[in-house]
Symmetry: D2
């Protein structure tokens, strides 16, 4: 009673929403039954993309601050997890779209030229806000990214590119992670020791094993030595930066270290929420990849080897983008630097104490 009465129908803008479907096949007097489905699926995508962008913006606002407020972290996590939930939902929209057969699609496919299902501007904004850079993008149908946008869209995209992405803000936030060094404790020294110890023992075990044929033994030892060497990237900043320059890593040396710390000691109360944030970002990235792939398979089924509605071999583009448009690959690759929990150095009490609550 404090507010004027609200009517469901008006409040939700139902009229507007339900008046936005205008099949071209109807316009040209050749109504194709399945065109409405095509329109509705894409409109539903756009509604959800708007929601994803909204959540992303609020998470960005939290992480772009020079000091991230602790009381906003839980909320930011929940909002990233909501994005994951939305992604799972819209994955299912492909199942519905696939109730349209290629023959049904053919009834109106020509009328859509040169539009295509891969031109959502909001989708590209999502990618950009997460951290996909222009240079990371595959050329689409030989056309540079910018030419595919309207002038208004270009301006909006420029504005977004001007701001730190979630990748950028997260990197800064990770770099600020404390705990990497204490009075009498240097985490990386102990971790390096643990890694060396583990591999040295493994190599010794193999050498001592009389049951392994000589050739296989040599090969196994070589493999273990290579694995050990790969840790150089973790312990040697110069080596890391060289690989980073070659594109093998994107995160800074310091941020990689922090991310590893969070993963290994996630059970410490203070690292729980950071751990959940990294996990949500892995989920988001993986879901985008899976969605692109499923979309590519659907496009192939719908179009065969024909060129896509946008004039490109749509499914080939999507399949290629699938692999290349990943944003948080570093978090996926980080796994390579994990060692079994039993070998991870214990934290000194002075440090683990600071990672917990003290309310008494």
């Amino acid at each position: 009673m404090k507010y004027p009465p609200v009517h469901y129908h008006d409040y939700l803008g139902i009229e507007k929403i339900l008046d936005a479907q205008h099949p071209v096949s109807v316009k040209y007097g050749k109504p194709a039954h399945d065109e409405l489905l095509f329109i509705v699926v894409h409109q539903a995508y756009e509604l959800w993309f708007k929601q994803i962008l909204f959540e992303l913006d609020s998470v960005l606002a939290t992480f772009q601050k020079p000091k991230v407020a602790e009381e906003e972290m839980g909320q930011a996590t929940s909002r990233l997890e909501r994005i994951v939930a939305i992604q799972k939902l819209i994955m299912g929209q492909i199942d519905v779209l696939e109730t349209m057969t290629p023959l049904d699609f053919l009834d109106f496919r020509d009328m859509l030229y040169p539009a295509s299902g891969f031109q959502s501007f909001q989708w590209r904004l999502i990618e950009t806000k997460l951290g996909l850079r222009i240079g990371d993008r595959l050329a689409y149908n030989q056309a540079p990214f910018w030419k595919s946008l309207t002038e208004e869209q270009q301006n909006k995209m420029l504005g977004v590119l001007d701001q730190p992405s979630l990748f950028d803000s997260l990197e800064k936030w990770l770099e600020r992670t404390p705990f990497l060094q204490g009075e009498n404790f240097n985490f990386w020294d102990s971790y390096k020791q643990a890694v060396n110890k583990m591999f040295t023992e493994d190599i010794a075990t193999v050498k001592a094993n009389a049951n392994i044929p000589a050739e296989e033994k040599a090969k196994t030892i070589e493999g273990l030595e290579k694995s050990l060497q790969s840790f150089d990237a973790l312990f040697n900043e110069e080596a890391f930066n060289k690989l980073r320059a070659e594109g093998q890593f994107r995160l800074s040396y310091k941020a990689m270290h922090a991310a590893l710390l969070i993963q290994l000691y996630r059970d410490q109360p203070i690292l729980q929420t950071p751990f959940r944030i990294i996990r949500a970002l892995l989920d988001i990235d993986e879901n985008m990849t899976n969605w692109r792939y499923r979309h590519a398979m659907m496009a192939m089924r719908m179009l065969g080897n024909k060129i896509g509605t946008g004039g490109s071999s749509g499914h080939q583009y999507l399949a290629a983008a699938t692999a290349k448009h990943k944003i948080f690959s570093d978090f996926f690759n980080l796994t390579t630097f994990f060692i079994p929990r039993s070998q991870i150095p214990a934290l000194p009490k002075s440090i683990s104490d600071r990672m917990s609550f003290h309310y008494e």
Copy 2:
């Protein structure tokens, strides 16, 4: 090139779709973050409801004809199955809405009064077009159904009620099913004999079994006799009509018979598609029921024992409607009249021949 170029953004009315979210909390200067999610979820529902109505209308157009065209049957089946696919999708929207916590909802709940999440006019149209009659509806919050609609909606609803529903058209179509009687064959006579034989044998088996204690034996025999009696409704039109008048059945005697025939002999080529149609209707009805129930549980979680945003104890209403708003209950109850396949009378060749193709 035959058609003027189309632009993704314009074609899909993206501007209109993305400009239809107007949170009241923003209007009142108290922006509640989760209100956008609330709006988007409901708008996505309405988009999909429009699609369901569109499919339903096309199926109705097929079945409302005095003679249903054989070449439209496959298409009608696919469209009903598409409705099933959409229902499975939008069931998942509840998972997304539940990422909003009750406390987040409270930030804008009062501002929505007296709107509520159960006022979708399209949802009611779907129910009506499927065959839900006004008298079948639960009063919502003590208010008669009509008063909850605007005048425009009332007129639209009256128009729909004026047309045969899918239930009505299907009943007529079922009543026209041939095969129930051949020259020297009356299906119901043989089915009755099979039923009697089965029960007589079952009763004899129980009687002859020395291992069953007397009391249990008596109870079991009584149960079997009752089951046999329940078949009266199937074999005796008068008995059936009495039960129908009491509300136990809605379909006509003839339509029930045809539906049973389709279920029992579904492997006959000519009954394959009718079988799939009945199955799709069972799916649609069951999904609506499940959706109402999940919605009721979500409402309970969101509101506790508080009254719903529409001023009603929303979740109680939904839970009650769940059971009562079923439309094709007859198809669910039909199962009671099934007997095991090994006991079903074989069709005379003269009849089974007419149920198959003859293209050579």
Copy 3:
């Protein structure tokens, strides 16, 4: 190389797993194609129930300790969330089982008597370990719960009942929540004031509104006064205990208060994980409820009005159990005591400080 080589096939006990399907219809020489599906679905359920029990046991081990270790909380949360993920998965098994039609089921239904799909002992263990008491259970088919178990099962169940359930342990843990009282701060006094202030203002607003007809105004004011009164249960321990004795609440007064505190101040770092735990329990309970309901609907479709394979009207039992077997209803009802975030009293700095990390 540190461990003897493992073979996929042996490691996973594939032989054992794939040798455990013995359709009775085959045994009786009347092979029913769909019986294998029936068996496989139920076996897959049991596998997942074992996993759920395993996760539950590990969470119980954490919460049954007199002082819950902070470093185990994140893990306990993840394991509860894993249970939620498993529940979502197995909900989908109903979709697969429903590809079996009632007629197919009839081919072997009689041979299963008196077994039924609702007799999983592991399912009952899950319910018990979560906190369902014997007295909370609906009688199944007029049979008391105990008689439906074998002696071995009875002993196992007694052992489980002898241990604190998750409900019990959680209640104790909640009761130990600090922060409810500080030096110069009593949370419940300030919350009571906030509640009173809110309702008083609301009532005044309604009274002052000249646009509301007298009768409606009276009714609205009465409603608000009733709502205010319902808070007595929250602020008055005696009133609460009276309602608790009547079965309206199950949690203790103190535990209810702690749960409310967690919900209202979940953004405080220290309450993040507790908040997630309560949310996971709400999810688990709701999923069990939804699963029971979907199962009931499936049973109805499969059996019509016939008695269930276990000799009961299975779907009626399941539908009834749906409502009654909820365990954490208190968390659902708690919502009733929420007030909008803008009205929630701010925590004194001395308290909010203790709710955060201090690592510098």
Copy 4:
């Protein structure tokens, strides 16, 4: 009462099923909590693979007959659709497995060597029964396919390879499709005319359009001419066979024609079920592809760049297999030969009559 009583627990072999989980980490005294999940997920997969094989065998039995019985077609379709439903379900098992983090996996990963998640023999049987030939398989970790199997498995696989696969049987069945030629009607002549007419008109339209710049016009015309030429493979058996020899097609010329006919005239009653069968096979193939891809992404997340538990770069293998192990690619590519429904030649009445029912 006709059969001896059955007990749920015994009937389902629960004891056996629940006694088949033996974590190696427990055996070595270093219990890793998440190993049970790893085992249970894979066992659930194997249960479902057994079910898929069972359905597949029954469909194979139907299609391997020299004349496929019309009354078995509906059933075969439903069983293929059941496989699709199972695939959708088990896709969700990846979501559950992903609740295990890479660090948790590391606790027991080494103990599994050299087993890996890609060694399911049943999965390979499914692929083989569907029609994947040995030569189509990617070498896994440089090892030839046969060496990865035990002797018993090799024998079983040889037996399966000795029988016609579903691909083979389906090809034969397609080749027997009637209707391709009538007294005064040759379908392929009319289809060729329709195709030519369509492209000729399209080219003329482009040529006549003064608004298209010269260069673009030339390019478009060239594209249309190329598309027209691609139809040679459809109309010229020699051209087709040349491409087939190069691996572009696998189905015979005759079978391709029949499949196209089924797709284009699916609304004819007699083609409804064949159409559904092709659609189910497309679904099965696409789901296997999507499953392999999701599995590859999960492996990458779990292992980073480390070698897979089976000693291979598991995710690279899976990602590669994804593309290469498709079986019914021809059905996907067929789309290329579709023309819009409005241009498809109408069937002569003498033919369409034979495609329908005549029960009166």
